[in-house]
């Protein structure tokens, strides 16, 4: 391409000779615009492939498998959907979880992900690709990540220009904040939801920019998809009214906004009601009231506009305005008050509260606070997930403010609110990632554009008036060049190199993070052996498969709720509690059983028909996220419902320990006994006494654990999972 813009004197012979020999080449010769389009399309294609490929580390390192906890539930439901059809799925009552309560799965899940995977599966089978549903599930998230990158391109193009869009697509394709939730195998709602979220936002911005009903309708459908996929749709339904309100307040109200917002809200709401799990929440739940309020406010605004036009008299209009506003606000407040008081409008949920007030969950809902991904975000994880974007984000905001438009205002609001939420909860970094990528992309694109125009105007000035077109841009660049500082070109080149260096560091960092940190399935653990070889700990599946094969079909397994989904999906056995955590009391009962003495726990287990108890124990391998380390949360959650369980009983001077100095209740509670049963006989590390717990680095306090009501049924080869059988009651005589 550079050659075409070469010296004009040599241009003619070069261009004429090959075409005379190969006339078909003439057809291939592209105009600058076409060239640009070709470049852009091929760059997008590469980004599409890259976004998919970088997420395959987990498949290459391990295998094509479902990761972590929640994805196992999603996988199980998808399997059910493809095998039994939509109607059965809709009416599915699952008796394998939450024994003895059961769970109405069809009505208590977001079906978007499962339906998407099932649709892909059906399509592939229709095209005669006999893939297993597991492969589809494993690759759903990477596939949608690629799509997200494309949406990011269009979004960036809509907000700024196509260059920014291209940069945004490239950034989001490899951004670790997004990859953490969308590697192959991470078959979770977020995988498709981020795509849906960004799509909805893009379509809405497009609708606001064009005032077109069609785009607003499209964004309503995007919203519907988002609602069907993830509970995070609440973010959309609160951000959009906030955005509309800001536009109203800043005097940017327009007919375009009116059309976009109302169409999107009304149709989106009606569509969202079709999702059984969401139901009438859009009109009944406190979290959705802001959107409704803004909707009515907008009607009032429009009405006032109309009256203003009719009256054509400022004085009268002001009086009318005062009356209408007072009436509208008081009617709205009254309706809200009555609705809340009568219980028609449900109050905000705990999760929502904990977003607005990060300390709320810690004090009130230990079950939310106990989840590691609900913790406030540390600076290091921001750095880890965003890398240079963290610094580019404010720069991008600066550029957005410099060229303020409806679209950039939206982007700024999306960025700022999601950044706040990302600070509150680790997992919401995910929601902030697209905004951060887009805003950073604007910074990068704008900076590089400025720098390259500096570099290029100089060369063009030397050649003087060769190229045609872009006259105004050239003129302004020329103007800036005329009053430029010395060494400006060299400075610009240096800065360009700096930018490329930073971007390549970003790419390296992303690849490294993906390969090292985010590609572990967490079902299979890998460690470096003594000789540098890779050691695989496949204990989870060993235990689950043992349960599946060697326990009665109707056995009930009690474990902490973290493992519930995995036990039902891989072990195919009934569990008492699982990761759905909808019933706090039930979980507290299990927490109470785990933190009681064995005889008390036995009574609880008898009342719950428990046949087997499963605990996760890392003392042999040094695996730190085991049940002993989670135990204080069991105590807290159990104690939150049953006051007989008191946290201080398990602590010594506020310190949690398992060695000789541990609290007596700690040393004799069920969890301790099950974890350390016969562990005192085992030497785990050379030069350490037997019973040395490698996860906590201490010698355990109670080496002589005797079980009366339970017996060891199975322990995996590295002791990570231990299963105990609850003995039948003793014969009475």
């Amino acid at each position: 391409m550079g050659a075409i813009k070469a010296d004009p004197s040599s241009k003619a012979p070069i261009s004429s000779s090959p075409y005379s020999f190969f006339p078909f080449l003439k057809a291939l010769r592209l105009k600058t615009k076409q060239q640009e389009l070709l470049l852009r399309a091929s760059a997008l294609c590469l980004i599409y492939v890259l976004a998919f490929a970088i997420r395959l580390f987990s498949v290459l390192r391990y295998e094509s498998m479902i990761h972590e906890f929640d994805p196992y539930f999603n996988y199980r439901t998808t399997l059910f959907l493809t095998r039994n059809g939509a109607l059965e799925f809709w009416n599915w009552f699952d008796s394998e979880s939450w024994y003895p309560l059961g769970r109405i799965i069809g009505g208590t899940l977001f079906p978007g992900l499962m339906v998407t995977a099932a649709a892909i599966y059906k399509t592939l089978h229709f095209l005669r690709f006999a893939v297993h549903i597991r492969e589809v599930c494993v690759l759903t998230a990477p596939f949608f990540a690629s799509n997200t990158a494309i949406v990011a391109y269009f979004f960036g193009k809509e907000v700024w220009d196509s260059g920014a869009g291209l940069v945004a697509a490239a950034l989001i394709a490899v951004c670790p904040g997004y990859i953490s939730r969308s590697v192959a195998g991470s078959y979770d709602n977020e995988g498709v939801a981020i795509f849906a979220l960004l799509l909805t936002f893009y379509l809405f911005v497009k609708a606001v920019n064009t005032g077109s009903l069609a785009w607003a309708l499209a964004s309503a459908f995007g919203y519907f998809y988002m609602v069907s996929a993830w509970g995070g749709y609440v973010f959309i339904i609160n951000l959009l009214p906030l955005y509309a309100l800001v536009l109203l307040v800043t005097g940017r109200y327009s007919m375009r906004l009116y059309v976009a917002y109302n169409c999107m809200y009304v149709i989106g709401m009606l569509l969202a009601m079709q999702i059984r799990f969401v139901g009438f929440q859009h009109v009944q739940s406190g979290e959705h009231m802001a959107a409704m309020g803004v909707f009515f406010l907008m009607q009032v605004f429009y009405f006032l506009d109309w009256v203003k036009y009719l009256l054509n008299d400022p004085k009268q209009f002001h009086a009318f305005l005062r009356i209408t506003l007072t009436c509208a606000i008081s009617v709205g407040a009254l309706a809200l008050g009555v609705g809340t008081a009568s219980g028609y409008i449900s109050p905000w949920t705990g999760r929502f509260y904990s977003l607005l007030d990060p300390t709320y969950a810690k004090d009130h809902i230990p079950i939310i606070a106990s989840v590691s991904e609900h913790q406030p975000t540390a600076w290091s994880s921001f750095m880890f997930d965003f890398h240079i974007l963290l610094f580019l984000f404010p720069a991008g905001l600066y550029f957005c403010f410099k060229r303020l438009s409806d679209a950039t205002i939206f982007l700024v609001m999306y960025g700022l609110t999601s950044m706040y939420f990302a600070g509150v909860m680790v997992r919401l970094i995910l929601v902030a990632t697209p905004a951060v990528c887009l805003i950073s992309a604007i910074a990068i694109s704008a900076t590089i554009k400025n720098l390259t125009s500096l570099v290029r105007t100089k060369s063009k000035a030397l050649q003087s008036s060769v190229s045609k077109g872009a006259a105004s841009l050239k003129a302004s660049a020329k103007a800036s060049f005329d009053q430029a500082l010395p060494f400006q070109k060299n400075g610009a080149i240096a800065l360009l190199f700096g930018a490329f260096y930073l971007l390549s560091r970003y790419a390296i960092h992303c690849t490294w993070v993906t390969s090292e940190a985010y590609s572990s399935p967490s079902i299979v653990l890998a460690a470096r052996g003594a000789h540098g070889g890779r050691v695989i700990f496949d204990d989870y599946r060993e235990a689950y498969f043992w349960l599946r094969q060697n326990t009665p079909q109707d056995a009930k397994i009690m474990s902490w709720w973290d493992y519930g989904y995995q036990i039902t999906a891989m072990g195919n056995r009934t569990v008492i509690v699982d990761n759905n955590t909808w019933n706090n009391t039930h979980i507290a009962t299990v927490g109470r059983a785990m933190s009681s003495y064995e005889d008390e726990a036995y009574e609880i287990m008898q009342s719950l028909d428990v046949d087997y108890v499963l605990v996760v124990f890392g003392g042999v391998t040094g695996y730190s996220s085991d049940d002993i380390n989670k135990f204080l949360w069991m105590v807290r959650i159990g104690g939150g419902v049953f006051p007989v369980i008191k946290e201080p009983d398990y602590l010594v001077n506020g310190e949690y320990r398992v060695d000789k100095g541990a609290a007596p209740k700690m040393l004799n509670c069920l969890m301790y006994k099950l974890s350390y049963h016969r562990f005192g006989e085992l030497t785990t590390e050379y030069g350490k006494p037997p019973g040395y717990d490698r996860a906590r680095g201490v010698e355990i306090g109670n080496k002589d654990v005797k079980l009366e009501y339970l017996e060891e049924a199975f322990t995996t080869s590295n002791w990570i999972v231990r299963i105990y059988k609850v003995k039948p009651p003793k014969n009475r005589w």
């Binding site: 295998e63 498998m65 005669r128 299979v524 695989i536 496949d538 599946r541 060993e542 689950y544 498969f545 043992w546 599946r548 094969q549 060697n550 891989m570 016969r678 562990f679 006989e681 085992l682 017996e711 060891e712 049924a713 199975f714 322990t715 995996t716 080869s717 002791w719």
Partner: protein, 386 residues
């Protein structure tokens, strides 16, 4: 699929290498046991060192009648007949250095049955036995599920003991002049055995006989109670799928349902015991199995419903491939597991074209796992429509 024009219909004739278990199903013409034959001497060696019972009979028959005899009968008790997996017979031809074994046809006789429901098999002789002549025959038969664990439930620290029931005298429709039986046990730990004088025990071998001049269908039940800690690996169900691809590949997928058919595990499974004292803890359990696959095997996988099982090793050379697989957990008595083994093979090793343009697939029928018993086997062969 519809787009491909039907070229020439290729008939794939499947020549399955059928083990004798299945060949015995073909019935033969019945004949009544002739009393003109008597057995001069018989030596029976029963090998109990695995949980599959292998018995080896070597006997010499004599035609005492006037007419020629073209077939010799052997008998099995109904219980044995039920668990009989393989019967093979051979005779020796030539002398000394040029001695060669000549396999003989063995066919069951549906009716008449012998007394008390004894199942008769006829061995067709290559040349009819003339009056007064003798012939030496050798018979190998294999019994499955013939060792009964007793006690039926053992704990982790106990050894597995089994009962083996047989007769000290060979069941035969003929008069037997002299007979001996040797029973080999896996270890010298024999709890008890029935005495049928003359008999004695030397190390791991029980000797019965010689007994002289026993009439047809003589029976003298014996019971041996001995230690057998060999893996009682039983494939309850095996489905083999053979897919032939015209890209030059044979893809085999085998679905196994494996169980430990020995004495059931009772009570606690203690990992600490199992790890620390492998010689006395869980001795009857087994951890791994060996599968012998054809050479040039490729893309081998070993997985189950919940994913890949990482504990397997493949060793290949030009003659065979050995796949050592470890189930996810050691199998104790009564424990079960399921898994799938899949592998690809080059098609040219198994597909042959005859002169008339027909194709023959010569592929093994049975299970590649060594020292296992398959209770139910389904084999599906999918050929392609060309």
């Amino acid at each position: 699929m519809e787009g491909i024009p039907p070229r020439r219909a290729l008939i794939l004739v499947l020549v399955l290498v059928v083990s004798s278990l299945f060949s015995v199903l073909a019935s033969s013409s019945s004949s009544s046991p002739s009393q003109d034959v008597r057995i001069l001497s018989v030596e029976r060696r029963i090998d109990l060192t695995s949980f599959i019972v292998r018995a080896f009979l070597a006997f010499k028959v004599e035609n005492t009648g006037a007419s020629d005899v073209s077939e010799i009968l052997i008998a099995f008790s109904p219980n044995e007949a039920q668990h009989l997996a393989i019967v093979k017979a051979s005779t020796t031809a030539g002398k000394r250095k040029k001695k060669a074994y000549l396999p003989l046809d063995v066919n069951p006789i549906e009716s008449p049955k012998g007394p008390n429901g004894a199942q008769l098999f006829s061995i067709a002789l290559p040349t009819p036995l003339k009056s007064g002549d003798t012939a030496a025959l050798e018979v190998l038969y294999v019994l499955t599920h013939s060792q009964e664990p007793f006690p039926a439930e053992i704990s982790q620290s106990e050894s597995q003991y089994v009962y083996y029931r047989d007769s000290a005298l060979l069941l035969s429709p003929y008069h037997i002049k002299e007979q001996r039986t040797f029973i080999k046990t896996p270890s010298s730990k024999v709890e008890s055995y029935t005495n049928v004088s003359p008999n004695n025990r030397v190390g791991t071998e029980l000797r019965y006989g010689p007994y002289h001049d026993r009439s047809p269908y003589s029976h003298s039940p014996i019971l041996v109670h001995f230690e057998n800690n060999n893996p009682f690996a039983v494939v309850e169900e095996l489905t083999r799928e053979v897919e032939i691809s015209h890209w030059g590949n044979v893809q085999i997928t085998e679905h196994y349902k494996l169980s430990h058919a020995g004495a059931h595990h009772k009570g606690v499974f203690s990992r600490v015991e199992y790890q620390a004292r492998p010689s006395i803890s869980g001795v009857s359990s087994f951890k791994s199995l060996l599968a012998r696959l054809p050479p040039r095997v490729h893309s081998v996988y070993y997985r189950d419903e919940i994913g890949n099982i990482s504990s397997s090793r493949l060793r290949s050379d030009s003659l065979k491939s050995e796949l050592e697989i470890e189930p996810r957990y050691p199998l104790f008595g009564g424990w079960k597991t399921t898994f799938v083994i899949g592998y690809g093979l080059p098609l040219q090793d198994f597909l042959f074209e005859s002169s008339d343009g027909q194709h023959y697939l010569n592929f093994t029928f049975g299970c590649p796992l060594l020292e296992t018993v398959v209770d139910r086997l389904t084999i599906k062969v999918s050929t392609l429509q060309f």
